[in-house]
Amino acid sequence: MKFQLKPIVALLALATLFVSCNDDDAAENLTGTFGDAELYFDNGIAGNDLSLGTSYTNSNGESIAIERLNYIVSNVVLIKEDGTEYAYPKADSYFIVNEAAQQLTMHLEAIPAGDYKKVRFGVGVDDAQYQLGQAAQTGLWADAVSNQLGTTWQQGYGFINMGGSFMAGNVQDDTAFTVYQNGSAHYTEVTLDLPTTARVRHNEEPSIHIKTDVNVLLDGTNKIKLADNITDDMVIVASGANLAALAANTQQMFTVDHVHNGAGHHEE
């Protein structure tokens, strides 16, 4: 076997020609530049896609068909790695998710360019906003009412409205239910880590794809049995100890599945 070294050396030398030097981007100057972002709320049940009207059985042994899922998202804050926060202008930070209407994407505009690693938002409407009074709500109240998240101003905003029908071991007939989270004391905020950076740049719009698990509202840390809440052949979970239990479960409801960066792909 006669190995010839020269051609190998020549080949290797040739190969080095192709090794590209990464000219590191000159430190980006983002000062004074802005970009957009979006939050996409992809509603699911225990890892499966939410299909309205399709029943599933939770760990409480109740077979539930969700036919309505609406909730208010508010007070969006984007957080950088170093902990610096950008609070989206409060008046523009309300968004109502409506599964039946497939109203799922919240657009955020004119965010200071930067690399964001966390997002925080409220579920519901905080007390300060409510205390401004009905006249100061600039359309928010009307939107809430039209999305079944408000009846009378005195009762205030509904935060989450999930409804449908269910059956359980001791409930043989299909029974209507409504879970109606409300009350300023039960406004809750969640902070989510992003699996990759959300890069906000001029002309680049990151899409933060949030996966919700609405199953945990009744079947999270706190177990809320619909069958325990029957009054006059129907169930309304909207008061008492259930509200604190729902608020705690809401903490478990959201995760960020992934972030799309760059121009191009966006969820609708």
Binding site: L11, L12, A15, V19, S20, N48, D49, T196, R199, G264
Partner: protein, 321 residues
């Protein structure tokens, strides 16, 4: 586990049955006069997209030097969505490729592949088609060692090489959603390839082994597909008659992909690996040869289980140089 598994088992059975008669074909025992011609070479095309057919093979077992045209088809099923019960959509990757291995010096060959792709898939949001030129690959191959011509019943050939994959195919970040990140005509990047191949042949039976590694770089849209390692081992059997030759072949081919990166960050769930079984047949007459081969996955884990390869098949027509 996607929906492809059962279908694959059936395909395996069909493939094996159709190839069985060939395995028993009765070859003449004399060494073919143009023995060296049959020292097969086998390369992966290493198309950069992490599910775009790296292990399709690069050469003919019949013709050591050739130019030709090849069509290949790859079937994938990908999950369209983030949920366990999100729909799986079929992705069809069709490619027509000009390919060749051209001798340029006594021990040096240049291997070239220029693909044209027709891809389509039916997303829940609607059908999507992309077609156009793919990435051009050019490899230089140097024959490090070769048994002296026709002097022995057992022959060895060892080749090494290197080359480039040029971004002649379009990379479109808009396709880069949460479904299959490799639904692209090209990587959009200049990629570099090192390769080695060893062929041993004893009389009519041979084994071709090869490995190559593709270094991928960041494209202009700040996306970098993961580096890729391809390997294969293929047994072939030469049935030589007066006017023609038939070469049935069977083997394994694997592909291993590193994690993709975007803006310098790992993109979660983009690495993967796959091992195929492959069966093929080539027939040569005069200066022409035709080839047909099929590949079915044996094990796979592509892009976190969100993409499943179903099968690949290819047909080619070559002209011997």
């Amino acid at each position: 586990m996607g929906p492809g598994t059962m279908k694959n088992k059936l395909l395996w059975v069909v493939l094996l049955l159709s190839a069985a008669p060939l395995a028993f074909a009765n070859g003449t025992e004399k060494s073919p006069p143009n023995f060296k011609k049959y020292l097969a070479a086998f390369y992966c095309d290493a198309c950069g997209c992490s599910a775009s057919g790296g292990g399709m093979g690069f050469s003919s077992m019949i013709d050591r030097n050739f130019v030709g045209v090849r069509y290949f088809y790859q079937s994938y099923t990908s999950r369209d969505g983030i949920f366990n019960n999100s729909p799986w959509v079929d992705e069809n990757f069709n490619t027509i490729q000009l390919w060749g291995r051209i001798p340029v010096a006594k021990r040096v060959q240049v291997s070239v592949q220029l693909p044209y792709h027709f891809f389509n898939r039916d997303l829940s949001a609607g059908a999507q088609n992309i077609d156009g030129l793919g990435d051009l690959t050019v490899l230089g191959l140097y024959t490090l060692y070769q048994t002296d011509a026709d002097s022995t019943a057992t022959s060895h050939t060892l080749q090494i090489g290197g080359g480039i994959k040029a971004p002649t195919g379009k990379y479109d970040s808009a396709n880069n959603g949460s479904v299959n990140p490799s639904f692209q005509l090209g990587t959009g990047s200049w990629d570099y390839i090192v390769a080695a191949e060893y062929v041993i042949r004893h009389n009519t039976l041979g084994l071709n082994t090869m490995a190559n590694y593709v270094f991928k770089t960041e494209n202009s849209q700040d996306y970098r597909f993961g580096n890729q390692f391809n390997y294969a081992g293929t047994f072939f059997y030469v049935v030589e008659k007066e006017n023609f030759a038939i070469v049935p072949q069977a083997g394994l081919a694997g592909e291993i992909y590193a994690t993709n990166r975007q803006y310098g960050e790992d993109v979660p769930l983009t690495k993967g690996n796959i091992l195929f079984g492959k069966l093929g047949l080539e027939a040569g007459m005069g200066n022409f040869s035709i080839g047909l081969n099929g590949m079915l996955p044996i094990t796979q884990n592509l892009t976190g289980g969100r993409v499943e390869a179903n099968y690949r098949w290819a047909v080619n027509l070559n002209y011997s140089l």
